[in-house]
């Protein structure tokens, strides 16, 4: 349904844009309804850039992003507004996503102003109540409150409720859990799980492999802007083939097993090479499991 085909992104950096930094190299993938696709990688791997390009917050240098077959990198402003009816994002820091001067529910009101100006007030109110309910919030507990009066988990769920008001098909969730406490993050994570059961496609960008493993069907591991390994979550995490994925998985701290009990030799990897070259191609190693060749 949402499809990225050979997408590249390069930024101009340095004084007067004298240098070119390629952040995303030749990334292709697709997400189907009712599926959570995780994008994991270290900082600087380009995972956030992918999320931002899907949301068209930054432009694509090369390649195409298609929703139901239509290339949205080429549509104008009007087409983009239509696109946002279907695709919405939620970001890392819930506290800075709100304007602290206004009540938090203003984000919901703004959806009405720009997308549903003709919907009757009473009808709208019940719609708001439904969407708050679907993210596990009591309308009475959050409406009319200022951002500082709500917890991080409540604010984050309200942003998801805002996205749901639009009957979206795809949600881009960029590190939405990392700012939350262990006791509340699971609520947000389980919410994504129930949304996916209702047919929503979720692009879940994270650096936390255990979260990716918990919630997603498929996973993409990125390094230096390119995909190094992708496939069904169980296959990629259960039998990582690329040395980078192995290193990454070996360093994840886990309860019940200590690093010292299970020493996996860390493979030295080549440092960042020439990023303007096309990355190593992906080859199929198993059913629903692709790995980039090393070198």
């Amino acid at each position: 349904m949402l499809e990225l085909e050979k997408v590249w992104k390069s930024y101009r950096v340095g004084s007067l844009g004298s240098k070119k930094l390629t952040a995303v190299r030749d990334v292709s993938f697709s997400i189907a309804p009712g599926e959570v696709l995780s994008v994991v990688g270290e900082s600087g791997s380009g995972k956030t850039t992918v999320g931002k390009m899907v949301l068209q917050l930054i432009s694509v240098s090369k390649g195409a992003i298609r929703l139901d077959g239509e290339d949205i990198t080429k549509t104008g402003k009007r087409g983009l507004k239509e696109y946002y009816r279907n695709v919405q994002g939620v970001f890392q820091d819930p506290f800075s996503s709100y304007n602290p001067i206004f009540r938090a529910d203003r984000v919901l009101e703004m959806v009405k102003e720009s997308y549903f100006p003709r919907v009757k007030r009473s009808e709208w109110d019940s719609k708001v109540e439904d969407s708050l309910q679907s993210v596990g919030l009591e309308a009475g507990a959050v409406l009319g409150k200022y951002p500082h009066q709500l917890s991080g988990g409540q604010l984050q769920r309200m942003l998801i409720a805002r996205a749901l008001l639009l009957d979206i098909k795809v949600l881009v969730a960029d590190e939405i859990i990392s700012m939350l406490d262990a006791s509340t993050r699971i609520d947000v994570l389980n919410l994504l799980g129930s949304l996916k059961e209702r047919g929503l496609a979720v692009l879940f960008v994270t650096h936390d492999l255990s979260l990716a493993n918990y919630i997603s069907e498929r996973v993409i591991i990125m390094r230096h802007g390119a995909i190094v390994e992708t496939g069904a979550t169980g296959k990629v995490f259960g039998d990582p083939r690329h040395p980078y994925s192995r290193n990454l998985l070996a360093s994840v701290p886990q309860l019940h097993t200590k690093w010292s009990e299970n020493p996996i030799p860390v493979v030295e990897l080549e440092p960042d090479g020439d990023r303007s070259r096309p990355p190593a191609p992906l080859t199929k190693v198993d059913e629903r499991h692709w790995v980039a060749s090393v070198g």
Partner: protein
């Protein structure tokens, strides 16, 4: 006994009254022990770390005392505390990646710092270079500006610097939270190595990441709303926790290998109490599945087993 903390109370002064961030905290740490201190944000874990080295302007030492190697630390007295800092007690602060002076070359900055302690950079330089090599940093980084190093390199630099004078106690405050998993592992293992090489005698590792601290700590303390609710060897905390809060916290952690479809993780309902006017009795009462009338009274910290203590009325269950 390297460190002995007795009924420590530290409050924050606000216009609305005192926020009781530490409300009667007692524990001790043995020589060569790494203690992990974990809890939700706002539970007072950073305050505890800070109060052992420097109270900032809003913090007030209300009661209790701290003994380090048998001598009392004057934690309420900023000036008297100064001669202990860096030499006896040292800290690797949260956001230590931005703790270095950006306008000075690193070597120059270290020289300034040592001079302020009446020490000579020249005498310590060999040891410094030796330790930098231990963490994989070449000598030439001393001629670099902080901006020229990566996040992981800066973190290691600060770690070497904080432990240069072989302090008795090191406080490491959320030092891995801003790093990638592979750097996290390297930094955590360096802490253990520093202890093994006796650069520091004992260590408090403050973190919200229980699975990380489990990797390196000998003992883990769980804090909730300004108090320690459970203290036990790392293995026991994870495999046989006693306090309902610890149990809930551990069952809310996803792990590699666990999937949404197989098993639904549960969160802890509600949120921690305000510390401005904390409730009486057990502070976890409002969120606790086992709470009953007796919980209106503060449960004492009792020994469950060798080295395992918990504060709850329902420990037998």
């Amino acid at each position: 006994m390297a460190l002995d903390v007795n009924d420590l109370r530290v409050h924050y002064r606000t216009t609305k009254g005192d926020v009781r961030a530490l409300d009667g905290v007692s524990f001790s740490i043995a020589d060569g022990e790494i203690v992990g201190l974990a809890g939700e944000s706002g539970c007072g874990k950073t305050t505890l770390g800070k109060s052992l080295i420097r109270l900032d302007g809003r913090m007030r030492h209300v009661g209790g005392n701290v003994l380090l190697d048998g001598d009392e630390l004057p934690i309420g007295n900023d000036r008297a505390m100064n001669k202990h800092r860096f030499k006896d007690v040292s800290i690797i602060p949260q956001y230590s990646m931005s703790a270095m002076n950006p306008t000075r070359r690193i070597g120059k900055m270290i020289a300034d710092l040592l001079r302020s302690r009446g020490l000579s950079y020249r005498n310590l330089k060999d040891e410094l270079v030796h330790r930098l090599e231990l963490v994989g940093l070449p000598e030439r980084v001393l001629d670099n500006y902080p901006i020229e190093l990566s996040g992981g390199m800066k973190q290691r630099m600060v770690m070497v610097l904080s432990t240069l004078l072989d302090p008795s106690l090191l406080i490491a405050d959320e030092i891995t939270s801003a790093l990638d998993v592979s750097n996290q592992k390297a930094v955590a293992e360096t802490l253990v190595r520093f202890r093994d090489m006796e650069f520091v005698k004992s260590m408090i590792v403050v973190t919200h990441d229980l699975s990380l601290v489990y990797q390196i700590a000998d003992t883990i303390m769980i804090m909730y709303a300004g108090r320690i609710v459970e203290k036990a060897p790392a293995e026991t905390i994870v495999k046989a926790p006693k306090h309902p809060y610890t149990k809930a916290l551990i069952s809310a952690l996803p792990e590699v290998g666990l999937e949404y479809g197989d098993k639904r993780l549960k969160s802890i309902p509600g949120k921690p109490p305000q510390l401005l006017n904390p409730p009486t009795g057990c502070r976890f009462r409002a969120r606790c599945p086992l709470a009953s009338d007796e919980c209106a009274e503060q449960p004492p910290m009792v020994d469950v087993d060798g080295g395992h203590q918990a504060a709850c009325w329902k420990l037998e269950d």
